[in-house]
Symmetry: C2
Subunit: 159 residues, 2 copies
DNA sequence: TCATACTAGTACGATATCGAACAAACAAGT
DNA sequence: ACTTGTTTGTTCGATATCGTACTAGTATGA
């Protein structure tokens, strides 16, 4: 494993490309968010769905803080998101038996249904998009994105 | 040009991977945004910089609406972003001589300086990140991202 | 057991985001 | 000119986001 020694010697075009990539990522995020939110009823937004999806896929009974870390948002933001979900009975929270300060978050039956419906309702969009964009290309991209994410993640912790 | 006929036959694991990719993109956006905003003074945020960068790189004298389209945000959001920039004299607006309804946006001298400083101040971060993540990998990823963006973009227009 | 430091979650205030509705100017056809 | 429909940008109100400060509970060590 050879460390690059010229790490500090990025030139202007390298930096521009890096900015471009992040700009592109921002716009994709924005576009997908808008598209997705058009398919959600009840004025729920992408963060709400993201939480439900996480709970459904990776298991519930987790702390709010662990969710905030998973999505890299401040915990105050997550408090707000969870309160919206709880108000609609898509999740419920119980005291953490192992930690008197904390809560555990559980997805409810209607939460699962809501999540499943959201995914189902997105099916036609994905099909239509798949006729123009070959999603298998994401297979090659995803590992790079994950590595970039992990690097940024580690870097953040060191600050 | 052969249209895929099985576009509607995505299975669950395909869909999961698509969701994963968008989730990853969202988190990268979030992380880069936070990191970047820590380097900006004056409580300016990423959207402010993004506008300045766009004007500096691709030229100013453009309409607010064209900026909103470029970043895929609602024009009301851009009104707000521009007002923040104008209040700090980083941009200025003049009436559009060709269209009595519109404005044109220009970047000021201090706007350029601000943008240059922001990029410079990010240099050390990029260098340190480059020692852990090989940014040349973005060269392979960027075209795919651009294609995905273009597809989403076209799709949105059809709605 | 106590003091200190730390952690989970919330309250609050400031700003950001965005949809809906609007006014003003344009465009096209009549 | 005049009507109709469209486009630019703003205002307004509702919600989202997030930094700061706080409370309550936990962990550690003397």
């Amino acid at each position: 494993m050879v460390k690059r020694q010229d790490a500090a010697s990025e030139n202007a075009s390298d930096i521009r490309q890096i900015f471009d990539a992040f700009t592109e990522i921002g716009i994709i995020h924005q576009l997908s968010r808008t598209l997705f939110e058009q398919r959600l009823d009840d004025s729920l937004l992408l963060p709400h769905f993201t939480v439900l999806n996480h709970l459904a896929r990776l298991g519930d009974g987790v702390t709010p803080l662990s969710l905030a870390v998973a999505f890299q948002v401040p915990k105050t933001t997550l408090t707000h998101t969870l309160s919206g979900l709880e108000k609609r009975a898509l999740i419920e929270t119980r005291p953490n038996p192992h930690d008197g300060r904390g809560k555990l978050v559980f997805i409810t039956k209607s939460g699962r249904e809501f999540r499943d419906n959201a995914i189902t309702s997105l099916g036609p969009d994905i099909s239509r998009l798949a006729s123009e964009f070959d999603f298998t290309k994401l297979e090659a991209v995803l590992p790079v994105l994950k590595e970039l994410r992990a690097t940024l993640d580690r870097y953040r912790d060191k600050n």
